[in-house]
Each structure stands twice: as C-alpha cells, then as structure tokens.
Amino acid sequence: MSEPNDRDGAVRGGCVTLRALTVGYRERVAVEDLSGRFAAGSLTAIVGANGAGKTTLLNAIAGLVTPRHGSIEIAPAEVRADLAYLPQSDAIDRDFPISVLEFAALGSWARIGALGRVSPELWPRAMHALRAVGLDELAGRLLAELSVGQFRRALFARVVTQDAAIVLLDEPFAGVDAATSDDLLKLMQRWHAEGRTVMVALHDLEQVLAIFPDTLLLMRKAIAWGETATTLTPEKLVVAGLAAPPKGPGRRLRLAMPS
C-alpha cells in the first residue's frame, strides 16, 4: 500500500479499512476474513480467478451487500457522495431511452439527491465529463445507439461527473478494444494523480504489472496485499489459481490468463 497523496489542489482520497470482513450470499461465502486498508490516494488492482470474490468485495464496499461479519470503515464518513462505483455493465438495461448526456449527468445524483432540483450548471459539467472520455460528439445519442466501447466510456463519464474521492471499478476494460482501454486507463491514472482512492477489479496481469502500484490478490481470502511487485510473484499466482505450476525445474512460469 502506498503513502497517501498530498498533491497541491488535489482531491483528497478516502481511506477504506476492512476488518475481518466476511461477505456471502445465502450458503456461499464469497469473501472471508479479509483485513487490510486501501490507503487514501492509493491505486489498487484487485486480482483473482473467476469467483474469487472481487465483485462481492466491491459490492460490499459500495454498500450494496451487508457484511456477514467484520466491518468496512470509510473515512471521511460521507460515503454516498464520495464513492463512485462502476459495476460490470451488463447490469444496466441499455434500451432505456436516455441520452448519453443525461446518462453522464446522473453522476451528479449524489449531490442533488433522488428528488432534488436539477441546477443549470449540471449540463456543462456533464458535457465536460463527456469531453474527458471523448464522447462529446455523441452527447445527443441514445444509450442504446452506442457501441460496447462507447458505452464503457459513457460509464466512465458518469464517474467523472460524480467527482468522488473513492472510485470502484469492476472489470472496466473487459471486452473493449485497445484504443478504448488505453484511453480509459489514462483517465484512471489521472484520477490516481488527482489523489483519489481507486480500486479496480481486473484480469489482465500485464496491465496490473505496468500500471498499478498496489495489488490485492484474492481467492476468497487475501493471498497477498501490498506492492504489486511483491504480490504478483509466481508462487502466489499459482496459489490464486491464476498460473499453472511450473512443469519442470528451470522452466519459466506461464501466466494462465490471456493477456
């Protein structure tokens, strides 16, 4: 875990502390006895095999599921406005007739509430967010008219509009082309530079090694949590089920995940 950022004029990220966190659905325990801290301003990759509990952990931090045991402490305490969550996009019914601009503007929800009046500065703010993700020319389109990559950009724009101190992203680069994922990675790195606390569940280990200072290697429990270089060692990846054990002595370990 890195030191908190203290850049001038930057957003101070929130700090998320997990204490003996256990989360489950019905009989299944998805995350077990997880303790640790996402420091303010940290950029952490959450890595694990399918079903390792990555999404469950993010859902718990976002307040969508209640922990069975243990606790999640988020500082500063004003959670809702200060926490942006970009879930896997298949949870959204894209056929609903909402324009790209309106969708990006939804990021202001945390500030104006469910029933509050929409202020006029909301629209330039949403437009600014669309420019940041390169969708400003499609602002008037309907959500249903976007390609998969463009829709992912719109989701990022909504997060930009929200301007939260803590950002949770679940598989944000899955299924999009290289140009889109490059743009969105840069945006995410900018959030990190602005001092926000960013947590990302993802699969691409090369991306993790190249960009993320910290990594939480998850397989229901934490296998390792700390600096990426010390976390993603071959032995630990084998334990996490992300790499095949070496066949013979001297053979280089192969990554089991497609990269």
Binding site: L64, R80, L115, L142, E145
Partner: protein, 288 residues
C-alpha cells in the same frame, strides 16, 4: 348528418357522455406516462395481472356492502396492493421467479372474483365488474377517477427520476443510497391506483387498456421518453373519444368500444409502412 352531429353533438347533448369523456381524458393523462414506464421496464404483463388483482377486492366489497364506487375502489385497491406486496416479498425471499407467481395471481384473482360476485349478484352485476360501465359514471365516481389520476400524475412528476433509473440501472440507485424495493413498490402501487381508476370505467377485464395499448402504440413511432409519453397520452385521448363515439352511434357497449379503438390505434401504428420505414431509417444510423 353533419360533422357536428357526429363528432360533437353526443357530448353537447348528454351529460353522461361528457362525464365519460372526462373520465377517459383523466385516465389517458395518468396512464400515458405510467404505461410508458411500465413497457420500458418490460412489465406489460404485470400490468395485466395487476388489473385482475383489483377484482377480488372489488367483488368482496360488492358482496359485503354494495356496488357504490367507493366500496369497489377501496376493495380493489386493497387486494391490488396486497398482490404488489406478495410479488415483492416473493421475489425477494422466495425461490420462484416473478412470472411464475404472476400466473398464479392472475387465475386466482379471476376465479375468486367471479365466484364472489356470482354468489351475491346477478349476471348484470358480473358484467358490470368485468367490463365496467363508463356511460353510467356518476359525479362521485368521476371525482374518484380524476382524483386518482391527479395523484398518479403528481407522484410521477415528483419521483420520475428515481423511478426511471430504478427501471434500468438499479445498482446505481442503490449505490446512491436509494432503495430499489421501495421505488419498485411505489411504482407498482401507482399502477394499481391507475388500474382502480380504470376499473370504474372499463371493468377488470379492460382496466389495463388505457395503460398498455396507447403506450405500446407510441413505441412504434418514438424512441425518446418525452415523445413516448406525449404520444401515449394523445393516443389514449383519441381512443377514448373514438370509442365513446363508436359506442354512441352504433349502440354498442362503451368499454369494449374503447378497447377496440385503442387496439386499432395500436394495429395501425404497428402496421403502417411509414412507421416501419421511419424506424428502419433511424436504426440504420445505429453502429453495430
């Protein structure tokens, strides 16, 4: 026969026609936006089932107290809301999917409702409950319908944003601290209210007509939410007006006439080549 005597005179000459027209206007105003949201949520059949859920309560009210509109409405509202609660509890805690329990409610409601009315009333009473009597609407009933429609429109205006987002991205609503189930319940209760109002005019079999058919027709012409709602209201008004005229001039039951007019609007919308070509031209700009 002049145009005036065909299109206007029936309403100018008869108070019951005016009452019926006002009832249809009120129903169209409330049902347009509500039906649009209902179809966008892919819950058209839920609306149909809930319209039948009104029946047992109305029937119990009829059997115990009598056929006063307030009695039928209160009874219908109670069983309608009970079914909404059961639906929400069922999907939250039960293993059954929603559509399975809906089918059970649908048949149970019709069975129980018809049974109770038949025990205490005549065939005419049964027809009244099943098909309504929009031409027999008295002032208290009209006030009831308009009041319910006003409540629905006001509630939609106040809560349109959370109701809309709950229908397509409930995860976001929950992340923002809003309750998924509460807004879903509010929406379904609004649907029940609207159906109780529709029940007074069109009966339990046709109460869903203003809710579903104009909104379905609007979807053939528009894609954005504003035009969808506007067209739904317009189609609802047109179907109500045309249905009443049809019923007056041909001397046929008014509820079914309104249903036929609404169905015609939908059929024309779905079939007219112009609307098809409009949609194709728009879809052609959609990237793959």
């Amino acid at each position: 026969m002049s145009l005036w005597s065909i299109l206007v005179a029936p309403f100018a000459e008869y108070g019951f026609m005016r009452s019926a027209l006002v009832a249809c206007l009120a129903l169209a105003m409330a049902s347009g936006p509500l039906g649009t949201l209902l179809l966008l949520r892919r819950m058209g059949l839920v609306g149909d089932v809930l319209s039948h859920a009104v029946m047992p309560g109305a029937a119990i009210g009829f059997a115990l107290v009598g056929s006063a509109p307030a009695v039928l409405s209160t009874g219908g509202l109670l069983t309608g809301i009970a079914v909404v609660l059961l639906m929400i509890l069922g999907t939250r805690f039960g293993a059954q999917r929603e559509d399975a329990s809906l089918a059970a409610f649908y048949f149970a409601s019709i069975g129980v409702g018809v049974l109770i009315v038949s025990l205490r009333g005549t065939n005419l009473d049964l027809m009244h409950v099943l098909l309504g009597s929009v031409l027999a609407i008295d002032v208290p009933t009209l006030i009831l319908i308009v009041a319910i429609a006003s409540i629905v429109v006001a509630a939609l205006a106040l809560m349109f944003r959370p109701l809309a987002i709950q229908s397509f991205d409930s995860t976001f609503l929950r992340t923002m601290g809003g309750s998924d189930s509460i807004y879903r319940a509010i929406f379904l209760v609004l649907v029940v209210l609207d159906l109780v109002a529709g029940f007074q005019a069109l009966g339990t079999l046709l109460a869903g007509v203003p809710l579903l058919l104009p909104a379905a027709a609007a979807r053939c012409w528009a894609r954005r939410i504003g035009p969808l709602i506007g067209l739904s209201i317009g189609f609802g008004v047109a179907a109500g007006y045309a249905g009443l005229l049809l019923s007056y001039h041909l001397n046929v039951p008014s509820g079914p006439a309104i249903a036929c007019a609404a169905a015609l609007v939908y059929a024309v919308s779905a079939l007219v080549p112009a609307s098809r070509m409009l949609m194709t031209a728009r879809n052609a700009t959609r990237p793959t």
